[in-house]
Symmetry: C3
Subunit: 261 residues, 3 copies
Amino acid sequence: MVKLNQLRKDNPLIICITNDVVKNFTANGLLALGASPAMATERQEMDEFLAHAGALLINIGSIEEGDKENMLQAAAFANKHHVPIVLDPVACGASKFRKDFCLRLLNEHHISVIRGNASELAALADDATMKGTDADQSLSTESVARRAYDKFKTAIIATGAVDAICQDGQIMLVENGTPMLTKVTGGGCLLGAVVASFIYNETKPSLALLTEAIATYTIAAERAAHSANGTLPGHFAVNLIDQLYLIQQDDIAKESRVKEV
Amino acid sequence: MVKLNQLRKDNPLIICITNDVVKNFTANGLLALGASPAMATERQEMDEFLAHAGALLINIGSIEEGDKENMLQAAAFANKHHVPIVLDPVACGASKFRKDFCLRLLNEHHISVIRGNASELAALADDATMKGTDADQSLSTESVARRAYDKFKTAIIATGAVDAICQDGQIMLVENGTPMLTKVTGGGCLLGAVVASFIYNETKPSLALLTEAIATYTIAAERAAHSANGTLPGHFAVNLIDQLYLIQQDDIAKESRVKEV
Amino acid sequence: MVKLNQLRKDNPLIICITNDVVKNFTANGLLALGASPAMATERQEMDEFLAHAGALLINIGSIEEGDKENMLQAAAFANKHHVPIVLDPVACGASKFRKDFCLRLLNEHHISVIRGNASELAALADDATMKGTDADQSLSTESVARRAYDKFKTAIIATGAVDAICQDGQIMLVENGTPMLTKVTGGGCLLGAVVASFIYNETKPSLALLTEAIATYTIAAERAAHSANGTLPGHFAVNLIDQLYLIQQDDIAKESRVKEV
């Protein structure tokens, strides 16, 4: 686990096509971490932006029909420039519209990482359905990560009480985190953006690198929950930005609770 | 006043088609309260989302021509699934474009509650005009609520220094609240979303239920203003999310200042 | 430097067509300062909104093809009603799409102030390019402000470690500020909106007025950085809203570090 210092030195440009609800939170989170977010979406400028970018995040949280072409074109330019793509298939089990789009994106372009909750990944991998944006807590992130990996043959991050990461068929579990992440909007969306920030320039990120990204974020979240008023959601969200700014590479090695299975 | 515990147990899905300025604040407020917000807008997925939803909020704060069809279709699907709709006619007195759209929505679909400030409701009920989004403080919320009720024959919530609620021709006044709500953007918009959260599954909410929703929100706001730095707008907004999370059903009965007129 | 009290008394309506990332932060900042923000964008209502407006902000941070016509029409109505326009050409050096649009806007309509970082202004004035949204720190704000003024013959605000303002060929430097402004998204965008708030009704704002706007904002930012946890980005953003609310006209005269060159 050795990338955070390098990330802060390189300050990679991360293009975030993300939902309207979390754009501010996402941009502030990435700035705090040490990346350089740009929330550009227009396809006419994507070739130029992606030529300098370290990674592309596509989060479909507030997707409308008119956004699809921008997302598809961005993915094509990212592939052209060998820029890794993180897909966050928000609520893809809640509508055919969302699921069809995700499957089309996965079919037509190379996606480096899919980051979702267990219900979202089950919808993609198993045809499960879901109500709104929340996860079914009874699903195992480990098993759904494996099934999604088997289907899409790309890195999977299944987040929940325990986060499961699958790459090359191997699974890593991260037990860090706090239930406060489910009390603020964008707790998962920001994690997807943090993953994009860590994997800049690597279209096939290693299991270790993905694990470091998740551990960094979830340890920062634990610290945010333990800071002043951090068990209240308004203050927790503010503290989380602070802790992404404060966290150091050494903290991650000391505080991470990670196991390979 | 007995719904808050039930709301937290049922965790109703609230579809929020709301303005770009307050999406994050609204989602965080509803999560803190105990509802499950989804900020979906695309009409192709509305039938599926509304099939599982408890309520639909339509807030026109940042409406563009291209949003109208999504809002109208969402209203149609909400009516089909017997999902109550709360309309927040932001700044509807400031342009013909906004007012015409609100009147069309009210004419073509069943709206369960209209939530606005006195100037917005006067624009709908009396053809008054307004400058931007702010309310004329000289208008009486009580009288404008009654006039809007008489015109639209649906529940009206007129917010201001004193909030007036009219249902079935009866009026309830809620004197709780704080001027700090006017110092942050979305103070009224979030209230509309809170109302939607309380009335889930009830297309004709009672005066008592609407009163509980307003009392819950305005008492949380009073507490936010009395918390650390709560008389400063940056901290007040953070505190308000915290207080929506902390408030308990018993607090409302003790602290509400409500009177029937 | 004498406008802040008058601004708070007049509470001017400021129409903000700004990017999706900073709409909430911008609206809260202007409310705290004492202006009345309205984030309306639809061209069908712009004539009515601008008839009552004090200023128009056009910030292209998240511009898509479909936004261009709304921005151009808004500019036309602002010119018709003699409402000053502030243009914030976010990342205009990062794509031809952005730069062409800014040049078209500047060519077809009267813009009262252009507010950008050194890289953005160099892109407009000198055909320089840039990566994403961040400024090249080696560029001098003073020299780029002068070159942009020479090209566009309208007031220029070049923000950086030292902010440079050019009007009528004269330059003022403002040394107030804090690096924390670069750690939160929208630090520059909100400044553009604050400038719009100060210059209401003045299509040719004086150098002194523009200087007061910048000094007010950067002194509030200094105070935010010195308030509790203000060296952490999450709390800094909250504190900045508070300090825009607290700052008084007298503070600006005492704390500003301004020099004419």
